[in-house]
Amino acid sequence: MSTLLEPQSRTDVETETPPAKLVGLLAEYENVDAIFAAAEAVRNAGFTRWDCHSPFPVHGLDKAMGVRPTRLPWIVLCGGLFGLVGGLVLQWWCNAYDYPIITAGKPLWSLPANIPIIFECTVLCSAITAVFGMLALNRLPMLYNPLFKSDRFRRVTNDRFFVVIDASDTKFDESWTTELLKANGAVAVECVVD
């Protein structure tokens, strides 16, 4: 029951200036098995600028899509090391160098008592890097996205799965790509315009 839907808005907008630009094709799938099949087909067809969208992380889809592991852990490691060194230097600077305080007859710089704060600084910086690194790599916050013009796409956070192929992909051809998506179980394919 595959149907190709031309959104009304596209023709409407085309009459105005600037004309609506096709940014990609959006294909809807009903379940996890269908999105796997579609992802493998799109990957095998040689597309590079495309993505799957789902209401929850579908395990194994990365592999089906051929997504490489993210470099986020390395960024977080750097953040953690920054926190570690920062915590160390902060305490040395404050208590042993800039304003030396003798506590309980201990040497001015005695590492064991400084470990808890070094640990906390490491965790703090790592966690901040993990969250903001993830958002930055994902280009979030993204306050405008032409995908959200599609009413169909609102179900992406509920119960439907989508494949979006970007029009800027070198392999992209509107009719051929539509056929490919429809042939792989899409219940609907529509154009995404901006």
Binding site: D33, F56, V58
Partner: protein, 479 residues
């Protein structure tokens, strides 16, 4: 199978290892899960919520007035004296920070252990953590006496050219609690992003669309985004796990690094962490049991979730009981006169009643949870959970007050009696906690929608060994 029939037919509390019990009941599909969770924040404000909120806000108001009185008058309004310089504010601080630990345990440690049932309860347990840490952080902030100088706690350049003393356990506490709050907040918000996106896409009103749209940061469920999201989530869990263990350890260092008898013991870090998890799980139960009734979340927070939490309550209660016994044994075994006296005084001294409440609530009451019948009786569960919260508050009271009132020299002994302000501020902190919690229940998804969907049988590809035996009714789509 209709939803109602399924709810009563499927018993997911079976411990038969040959089958994995389903985590979502009522025959819900993905849309059903979204509906069940979102309706809590989408429907009209109920009368029950309004009544609870009015009560909480009034109690919060009492706290506000108490703080105003305290700041304008001075810390003399409390029962704190010489030698009990810590008193109620620090008892409350340790109590609230302990409550928070269960949320992180559920969201981080159970995540690393691949305990999929956590998805039903992790969201509001995390919210509970944040609100508990806010309540906790308030007390040392006002306990410093001159709250407008509380910034001295932080290494901020100041006009005196001085810096904090980093080798003090109290400063470790500032960093531990500050880090804990920040990381818990980040962890919570990260998990919320996809679910706020669900609310955004379901929202009909313009204001809701804008607010949820802003908070969801433009989340569109992209698999490349999910990939990094999951990695970040795993990293946060891996970071939060040692962090949560460190926080209550550091809180226990406040005591353990001193020379006061009853405080100066090496058992304190694990004992405090176990106690925190015990008290925290009790608070999760106190919130979860009414919430699943009131919000109709019984298909998502199932009997099995409650059952599992009761088992954790029992296990940690036993660890705490063991620590109590160990303290007494070591006091006797040490042959240290002061240590022996402290523990004799704790059980038979002027605060014997506090010790009895603590022992009954933390060591005796959870024993009910051995019985499956009791674990499935919500009244019994609530009674034990409330007992555990009372018991954990009295544990901190006993540790702080009995040790300080009678230490080495009888000439410096003194009695501690809380004032009305002390008691009102304790009650008021519950007002703050419940006000924040009720606001959270009203406007944000109380269950992690995306995570629950991810542990449903339909979330896995068929015929690739990912199914968990629950999807026999589903037919694999031929490809």
């Amino acid at each position: 199978m209709t939803a109602i029939a399924a709810q009563y037919l499927v018993d997911n509390t079976s411990d038969d290892p040959r089958e994995r019990p389903p985590l979502v009941l009522g025959g819900l599909d993905f849309n059903g899960v979204s509906d069940e969770v979102c309706k809590v924040s989408e429907r009209k404000t109920t009368l029950a919520w309004k009544v609870c909120f009015a009560l909480s806000v009034s109690t919060l108001g009492v706290l506000g007035l108490c703080i105003l009185y305290l700041v304008t008058t001075g810390v003399g309004v409390w029962g704190n004296n010489q030698p009990v310089g810590w008193g109620f504010p620090i008892v409350n601080f340790v109590f609230w920070i302990g409550i928070g630990h269960a949320g992180t345990l559920i969201s981080a440690i159970l995540f690393l252990f691949r305990q999929k049932w956590r998805t039903g309860i992790n969201r509001f347990a995390e919210a509970m953590t944040i609100f508990a840490v806010i309540c906790a952080g308030m007390f040392p902030g006002i306990h410093v006496g001159r709250p407008w100088l509380a910034y001295w706690l932080f290494p901020i350049p100041n006009q005196m050219g001085t810096w904090p003393q980093f080798r003090s356990a109290l400063l470790w506490d500032v960093f531990a609690v500050g880090t804990y709050f920040t990381v818990s907040l980040l962890f919570w918000y990260t998990g919320l992003i996809p679910d706020i996106a669900t609310l955004r896409d379901r929202a009909t009103g313009r204001i809701k669309q804008i607010v949820y749209g802003f908070l969801a940061l433009g989340w569109n469920g992209s698999n490349r985004h999910w990939h990094r999201f999951e990695r970040a989530y795993l990293l946060l869990a891996a970071l939060a796990t040692p962090l949560v263990l460190s926080v209550h350890s550091v809180v226990s260092f406040d005591f353990a690094t001193s020379q006061v008898p009853g405080w100066h013991t090496t058992i304190f870090p694990p004992y405090f962490v176990a106690g925190a998890i015990y008290g925290g799980f009790a608070m999760v139960l106190v919130l979860a049991v009414p919430a699943r009734e009131l919000f109709g979340l019984k298909d998502l927070i199932t009997l099995r979730h409650i059952d599992n939490m009761c088992k954790i309550l029992l296990a940690t209660g036993m660890i705490v009981s063991y620590a109590y016994m160990s303290e007494f044994f070591i006091a006797w075994y040490s042959t240290n006169h002061f240590e022996k006296f402290t523990f004799y005084n704790r059980a038979f001294g002027p605060y014997w009643w506090g010790w009895c409440i603590m022992t009954f609530c933390n060591a005796v009451a959870p024993q009910l949870m051995w019985s499956k019948k009791m674990r499935h009786n919500m009244w019994a569960v609530m009674a034990v959970a409330i007992c555990a919260n009372i018991g954990m508050w009295f544990e901190r009271f006993e540790i702080i007050v009995t040790s300080l009132t009678r230490d080495f020299l009888p000439t410096s002994w003194h009695w501690f009696k809380p004032t009305t302000i002390d008691i009102l501020m304790l009650i008021g902190s519950f007002g703050l906690f419940f006000t924040l919690f009720l606001l959270f229940c009203r406007f944000l998804p109380v269950v992690a929608i995306a995570e629950v969907k991810g542990v449903m049988p339909q979330a896995h590809r068929h015929g690739h060994g990912h199914g968990n035996g629950q999807d026999g009714a589903e037919t694999a789509v031929t490809r």
